[in-house]
Amino acid sequence: MRWLTAGLLSWMMAFAVQAQGNLEIDTPAISALKASMKQRHAQLRPLYVSGAIGLAADGSVALRDASAVPLAQRGSVNALVAAENADRSALYREVARANQHPEWEADVRSTFAQRWIDRAPAGWWVQRGGTWVKK
């Protein structure tokens, strides 16, 4: 009996340690998403700087002050934001899926949300406690 319990415990520990190590993020799907987002970032960057868009608390990018963009381009900026958010949602899903835990999607999303915000350079707008603040 004791042997069984010990075995179980060590098995659980092993599981926990493995879980605490690294998350699998080197999948082709995640690479494709990273490449796509990296490419789009060249277009998004000036929009972060001007405050037209900001990093929302839910891990997405939000159009927060469209008036920083000429009227005729607001539609394409909105499309850009939507495309970025589609990639981000796919990224969160893929990270969860790549680690055999699709149910982690929401946790992955909130972790990313926090990290995007924490790591945003000074001058960018981020959403904290429901309000937009400039870092």
Partner: protein, 65 residues
Amino acid sequence: MPFFRIRSLLLAGSLALAASACVTINIYFPAAAAEKAADRIIDEVWQARENQSPQAAPAEQGAEQ
């Protein structure tokens, strides 16, 4: 007889424990590892412009790894 019953009871109990432990592990989310993973991805998505001029960036992307 009683001995066997106790044993099977213990076995069932431990199996139930194992099963419940399983469930606990399944819902456990490795927050620290996820943060590390997020940082790596964020670095890659954002860093392109830091080290290179934005114009040159797209051509060079595929090469590394």
